[in-house]
Subunit: 306 residues, 6 copies
Amino acid sequence: MEAFTRSIEALIGSYESSGGINHRTGQNLPSKEAIHAIVADLETLAFPGYRQEDGIDDTNAAFVIGELSHRVARALVNEVSKSLEYGYRVAGRSGCPAACHLEALEAVQDLFEAMPRLRSVLMGDVSAAFDGDPAAKSTEEVILSYPGLEALTVHRFAHFLWDRGVPLIPRMMSEYVHAKTGIDIHPGATIGERFFIDHGTGVVIGETTVIGKGVKLYQGVTLGALSVRKSEGDQKRHPTIEDGVTIYSGATILGGDTVIGAGSVVGGNVWLTTSLPPGSRVYVPQGDFVVDCRGEQGAVRDACES
Amino acid sequence: MEAFTRSIEALIGSYESSGGINHRTGQNLPSKEAIHAIVADLETLAFPGYRQEDGIDDTNAAFVIGELSHRVARALVNEVSKSLEYGYRVAGRSGCPAACHLEALEAVQDLFEAMPRLRSVLMGDVSAAFDGDPAAKSTEEVILSYPGLEALTVHRFAHFLWDRGVPLIPRMMSEYVHAKTGIDIHPGATIGERFFIDHGTGVVIGETTVIGKGVKLYQGVTLGALSVRKSEGDQKRHPTIEDGVTIYSGATILGGDTVIGAGSVVGGNVWLTTSLPPGSRVYVPQGDFVVDCRGEQGAVRDACES
Amino acid sequence: MEAFTRSIEALIGSYESSGGINHRTGQNLPSKEAIHAIVADLETLAFPGYRQEDGIDDTNAAFVIGELSHRVARALVNEVSKSLEYGYRVAGRSGCPAACHLEALEAVQDLFEAMPRLRSVLMGDVSAAFDGDPAAKSTEEVILSYPGLEALTVHRFAHFLWDRGVPLIPRMMSEYVHAKTGIDIHPGATIGERFFIDHGTGVVIGETTVIGKGVKLYQGVTLGALSVRKSEGDQKRHPTIEDGVTIYSGATILGGDTVIGAGSVVGGNVWLTTSLPPGSRVYVPQGDFVVDCRGEQGAVRDACES
Amino acid sequence: MEAFTRSIEALIGSYESSGGINHRTGQNLPSKEAIHAIVADLETLAFPGYRQEDGIDDTNAAFVIGELSHRVARALVNEVSKSLEYGYRVAGRSGCPAACHLEALEAVQDLFEAMPRLRSVLMGDVSAAFDGDPAAKSTEEVILSYPGLEALTVHRFAHFLWDRGVPLIPRMMSEYVHAKTGIDIHPGATIGERFFIDHGTGVVIGETTVIGKGVKLYQGVTLGALSVRKSEGDQKRHPTIEDGVTIYSGATILGGDTVIGAGSVVGGNVWLTTSLPPGSRVYVPQGDFVVDCRGEQGAVRDACES
Amino acid sequence: MEAFTRSIEALIGSYESSGGINHRTGQNLPSKEAIHAIVADLETLAFPGYRQEDGIDDTNAAFVIGELSHRVARALVNEVSKSLEYGYRVAGRSGCPAACHLEALEAVQDLFEAMPRLRSVLMGDVSAAFDGDPAAKSTEEVILSYPGLEALTVHRFAHFLWDRGVPLIPRMMSEYVHAKTGIDIHPGATIGERFFIDHGTGVVIGETTVIGKGVKLYQGVTLGALSVRKSEGDQKRHPTIEDGVTIYSGATILGGDTVIGAGSVVGGNVWLTTSLPPGSRVYVPQGDFVVDCRGEQGAVRDACES
Amino acid sequence: MEAFTRSIEALIGSYESSGGINHRTGQNLPSKEAIHAIVADLETLAFPGYRQEDGIDDTNAAFVIGELSHRVARALVNEVSKSLEYGYRVAGRSGCPAACHLEALEAVQDLFEAMPRLRSVLMGDVSAAFDGDPAAKSTEEVILSYPGLEALTVHRFAHFLWDRGVPLIPRMMSEYVHAKTGIDIHPGATIGERFFIDHGTGVVIGETTVIGKGVKLYQGVTLGALSVRKSEGDQKRHPTIEDGVTIYSGATILGGDTVIGAGSVVGGNVWLTTSLPPGSRVYVPQGDFVVDCRGEQGAVRDACES
């Protein structure tokens, strides 16, 4: 096992030479596990009793919620402090940890102060999902099983922290729910009330996207950037979607100046890099592509041959 | 911390005013965690020894399976009772919990009676996956690592309960495996034998879809509805796919009257809202889109500029 | 409960008649849970301190890494032995378990010997992601929250074992991270340095794909096969992507002879089954599909009607 | 393994023929694990923050205690119901489960109503331990590390339930803490304020013992019965210890009519079956038992021979 | 932290120089945790449903017991193999691991074959406890809360393995329950039917003790050796207690030739190193030790002074 | 449930009025659970591989031990800091937490520096136990199953911290192992090499006891104080036991001036409050207490009557 011992030593040496280890002297970064636990608890605060058997009833609800609020707030202050300290370090600012802890405390207190409003918005999202999906049998079913709602729940919390300037954590929250739902909403995106994503897998919503009220999205929709140059990182690179727009599966809308006017409908697989006036309907024209087996090619070749 | 205490009180108050809390007097809804544990156990019953180290051998298999069957049956009766009680409440019917418990018991007993048949169907799906994928080296590899098979395993259980009229739970089961695989099969969909989904991420199969035998699907395929009006929630809104059809990645087939005839091949990215006769081959015609850098636009603009 | 007991007996009988149980006399296959735990530990070795609170600092790093290395190596030798024994059995070879254990030991020792090099490559991938995404604020953010990096980390380990001829396990590793990220990279794929996948959901990279250095991919890209006939399982069925190519979201490139020349840019939703010379730019021409409500059809019909 | 299967069948048959299995149709008995968890939680309510890191501070104490109170009350009502149902069954009474649940609810509510008083008594016990042990450095040390206090804490809860006529559970609680501390106090024993047991291992206090205020006991003290005939099970069989009595290690006091008068001191190893007037001092006379090696015998024989 | 690193190196070096580490090349010894888990499972097999919520009822009992039997048998074979290998090593015998595994298998199979008989004996012990304690309200209470029964349950299993010549494990089992109950029965002791230990703390029963039927013991009883010379390790060093003997608390009976005749009663605190004929009654004469405060001394001195 | 809510409020109020809650503003006390985990880890460092399956072998021992050392040291520094802060607060000193953390660090570093020496002493204790018990078959058996050794292992660590002036924690460590073994050694006691306690239940060794080399104790031995007046808390109140003394079960030796001379043997149940010269042998004279049934009394009365 001599060789194995040498391998381990080389591995340890590689952290020194190549980096990629999270420890540095002093404060650590937030860890994935800590953030995931916090997000799960925030989801419970949003919709208590749905995620796990919380044993909540009218008599103990206040205690259960209060205890959980304090617990998650404490954990969140701790992680936000780490991320702020990281932000200070990157920005070359001093004053941490005292200032960082204070800032973290304020950010978390503000989040909890905003909770009733955020919950009210989320209940509007539940209602929009129920109204928008003929397969939905009840609002309870929406809360229990719609991945779009879960992605949105986490987004509304993550976006709040993003707006407060908390580094790293909002993005970690987004990726937590991206992994679960296949829906990738950057925490910087601004999203109005009564938003509904159906099915959702493959949806991508970029950092500077602005979405109005009552918008509806299907699986595989991309709201993305035309430019991916690092130097344009601070500009508005993603589209604006006005109130009441519906975008069907697989559609792609790109560009910071692209505005989809209120009430428009964007058909499936449409590829848009320019703006649409309000009330527009766009769709991919359906060509005639029924072929016999003599003419097939590409992906269908061997199916005919078989 | 005065302010924080007020925030918690406001949060608690928000459940009163906006709802979204799962407790109500009396019975609760099924929780996500309970359903997830049940699904994992049902997967173990379908393919024992693959998910975890069950320590099964010829001498103890009967005991291990028997013990697990009783355990999962008990848990499932419990959760199905809750969901039936919820269904009664929504429908304004009385008679629960006595009638609900009895109905739940019967549904679960029927599920277990159907198990050997369901397993036989699943073994056919395994065989179809092995035959249909040149990269597959063995049926064991299919069971161990094909997300399409996992989605289908859960679907076949969920669909059985859906057919028995169990509310909420079939959909929660589907979403459990949607989150793991990116494959979103509504529990209402009717799917024939030897079904194979390769890769699978982004696949959506709607509630009233009917799929024949020996059908093959690739990633990103949508079998969806043309209409998403709530009032049409009870009609057949999703397509019918006949025996032996292959549908390549990214294809979209919409509408309750759309029938893809037996043995047809639908090429990648095809968008279909009308029926095809048996034996059809459809594909997207490949245009000439090689351009030089003077003509580029849209998503490729800054790639040329760089 | 007579009937239930009969159901269980029938279920147990079904393993006899239909198979699908992982026990057989003697050695078992690797289990999903064991492989998942190993992958998580390998990810920790790649980027210590990011996944969980490992409590690593300069004084204990050597011990923590050394202990973890030994633990994961032991577990991996155990699972690789099982998979090799399975491979011997399928191939009708004898000599296991002695030969299998030795082979497993060597494979794992080689993996650890390669670790510093693999980590160095991964740090290059981190850097490519940071350079390639205007939304990325730091390399730490990349390690903490980019699913593309996680998929690639697991791929580089899985591919090493694939090259060493280890059966089953590389594919199980790929599916573990496919489930988490929606990115499906076959462990057989050869991928060069500084590779970056953004967003990633729905990406599929086939078994015989060859990718050069500095390639960039977006969500929903398929690098697939034209032929899915079992008999062609040993040929190169997937494309070659040369250095510096960028492929935008939803593009599909198929076929073992298809070569995308160095520095090319493939636009979103492009469907390619033929080669491109170096420096090419291809894109889907944007048609004029703005319509008024009199002309709508398909997916947008009822949106206009509403 | 034929033989092993037969052994299991015989084992299963033995429950039928010999009994000893806790299931019977209908309700089960309380389980040890459930009661142990409840006792641990009651200890936390008595002295929050000492047993585990509860993260309690002034701002969240009310929520943490309230949540825990509801949780433990719910669990206790459940277990008390089972034990009452058992009591009804043994007594041949009908009316359960309705009456049993109601009785259980009342018993638990009364226990919580009595909590402030019980805690006040326990704080007196803490103070008595601090005053009575020269080795005690602080009351915190007493709460953190005195087994006598732990035994007494559990006893005061168990005795309350015993007085309410709850079957089985009080005795299970006593045995839980007997196992931890070696102090065996029957839940029926009546114990006054400011009671202190030092070291405690081997102490036995019988069912009908009555102990006054300010009594002090050392390890190995037995307060037992003269008669162990089943027919005398309902009489007072154990002694009465009046206020301010001290009993040193290993002393044995037996009999229901034996009264140790107030302020008496009973020396170590004393064996008493008759009463003592107040203010008595009793001790074992110290004989002269220093011997040379020629005269040793019994237990010391071979020590001399060595 | 230089110094700390040196301390660790010195600590690691100390295992080399002083021993005390359980690994050696090849097989390990059984670990405490493994044995403790096995003992807890054996207790469940003895009295199913009492230790934890096993969810056993008439329909699933056979499966639950069968599954548990196989699980505990497998674990026990594993640990017994280790201990036999240790025994072979100490004895300088060769043939392990093949012979050891076979021996272990036989020992465990014999244990399970003996299970119905052992359970029948244990049910007799339960009955003896109920008959012998006026405070016992039911046999269920005995099973749920009598430490003497728990000690005896474990002893009867441990003694079976001791008789089969299994090294180390029987003693580890005894110490497991010694720690829980304060009752220290050496696994070598031979104990007849209907044995009852009340309270039990401090009871010690030596290796070569022989106890008849219907014997009753109280807390603090020692059945020990006169000689503690290593050279006499193979002789009968502990007493013989014939049928129907009762021994009260704190009595000590020593010596391999000491025989307490059938039906005798040994009073509390009696110290015996010689035999008694059947039907004897022995007790410590109660002297007159009531003193006034002028004459006190020893342990009671300062009580009078205060 | 109005009443229940009022009960909870009263309970919460009782912490305010009666105390007994561990939180206070600022630092907390060490918790039982934290200390118990630390003790278990220290036991593993003393005898690696015995407590649980550590998977240690020659190749990884250094890493496993190093990792565990760092982990336990970090946890211990944390808890010692809390206890020192508590000590400062009680003593009215200022300077914490800075000074406390430094002191804690030094104390823990010194403990680890002393580890090789402490382990060497413990290996001597193992050897003494093996030599002193004819039932002991090997030193491995001693490490695996002798409670006396476990008590001593914990004592030697606790005493080290006691000597360093660490408050609270040494006593919590002692009580941890007192609960497991029934052996109560105050952390202040000074104990020489090659110490052996057999069986051990009920042993009490007081704070100022001094024990020489090669001393042997049996179950139920008390080395205690004559005076229990608080004012004498700082004097030597417990006996001195010189080298090579053996004390048999149930013996009691009291008083700070009592010295048992080297090589003495104290027989079972002996009660001593005065010194003995070296080489003494003392025993309880065995009276003639065989009685017939006409003369019995006390504890044996009803045995004769039955």
